[in-house]
Symmetry: C2
Subunit: 198 residues, 2 copies
């Protein structure tokens, strides 16, 4: 039934496009440009939807892992940009818990606010800050579905020790979503009149 490995291909361009691991990105705005550029490239390279995310070392500002939406390409509804970035960061730091002793404090920077699944994944990951670009409402406006988050989702994360920053380079992040929709990019799972954001 279940073959012995679950395996997903990471696009070659993602590795090539990832910044030098020694390069520091100072502050949320600069780090958001990385996430938004990932979203833009994912569309241009036709590897997935207009969503990018990255895990950064909060103090040093260096990139730990970069992710993009790979749902359709890898035939896996779990592979939203945030999930890919978190899974790659955990592999890179060799822990299921990015807040484990000895590891650098990590943050997740995402080109669009997390959907219900990615929201739920954040506390389990060990990141201590979530930095968001476009709003869920921006994603919804172009046809993506964000699922059902608690109405106070940012407070819920803060209560769990995850700081939340919103609207970081929101216009720039939103423009990638709009360009995708205007370009006729597929909005999948559309039989439900909706589709998966992230």
């Amino acid at each position: 039934m279940s073959p012995p490995k679950l395996e997903f291909r990471i696009p070659g361009w993602l590795e090539a496009a990832s910044p030098d691991p020694d390069r520091a990105f100072h502050g949320p705005e600069e780090r958001m440009t990385v996430a938004v550029e990932l979203a833009r490239r994912n569309v241009r390279r036709e590897t997935g939807g207009p969503f990018g995310a990255a895990v950064f070392d909060r103090d040093r500002g260096t990139l730990v892992a970069a992710g993009v939406n790979l749902v359709v390409r890898e035939r896996c509804s779990v592979l939203h940009a945030e999930m890919v970035a978190l899974m790659l960061a955990q592999r890179s730091l060799e822990s299921h818990d990015l807040a484990a002793p000895g590891l650098p404090e990590c943050e997740l920077v995402t080109s669009a606010e997390p959907c219900a699944m990615c929201f739920g994944a954040v506390p389990w990951s060990g990141v201590t800050r979530l930095v968001c670009g476009a709003r869920s409402s921006d994603a919804r406006q172009v046809g993506f579905d964000e699922g059902e988050k608690p109405s106070d989702w940012t407070t819920a994360l803060e209560r769990r020790g995850v700081e939340v920053l919103r609207d970081v380079r929101r216009n720039e992040a939103r423009s990638v979503l709009r360009a995708y929709a205007e370009g006729g990019g597929p909005i999948y799972n559309s039989r439900r009149g909706t589709s998966d954001g992230g």
Copy 2:
């Protein structure tokens, strides 16, 4: 930065223990015994926490994919039993959407109610029914954290076309959680006084 593959090992016993793909399990109760047995074996084989899940063909009753919690073993906080079962089912049926035309209607049977992440993942997966054993409160009672779901999470799923059945063999499912806790099984992420269920 990002190596070209994201790869997770599925325990060999999971494959060996999975029922014959032609065997039919009739009704939710019979299918739940499979999920609960997976949870039990995952503990006994020391491959992860006391959580099991399986995707079934709703009409035929055959197993599509089986999953267990592999978070610590595979160093990945995403790998709750439900997520593993869904990812393996999508790979097996070669689609990110288990409700795609031509595929059998699928349901997710889980030994414990989904945490916030797995709840959010259900609508994206394409399953049309969620069958739950133990309650989230049962998991919390032994120290697992379920995250923050909308208070009306079952209604939220039903609104999206996912039928929800609860308390299916709840006592049996709960007993696996209790035995694990009483046996001193690690409840990880306990620095937050809590840990990830699923």
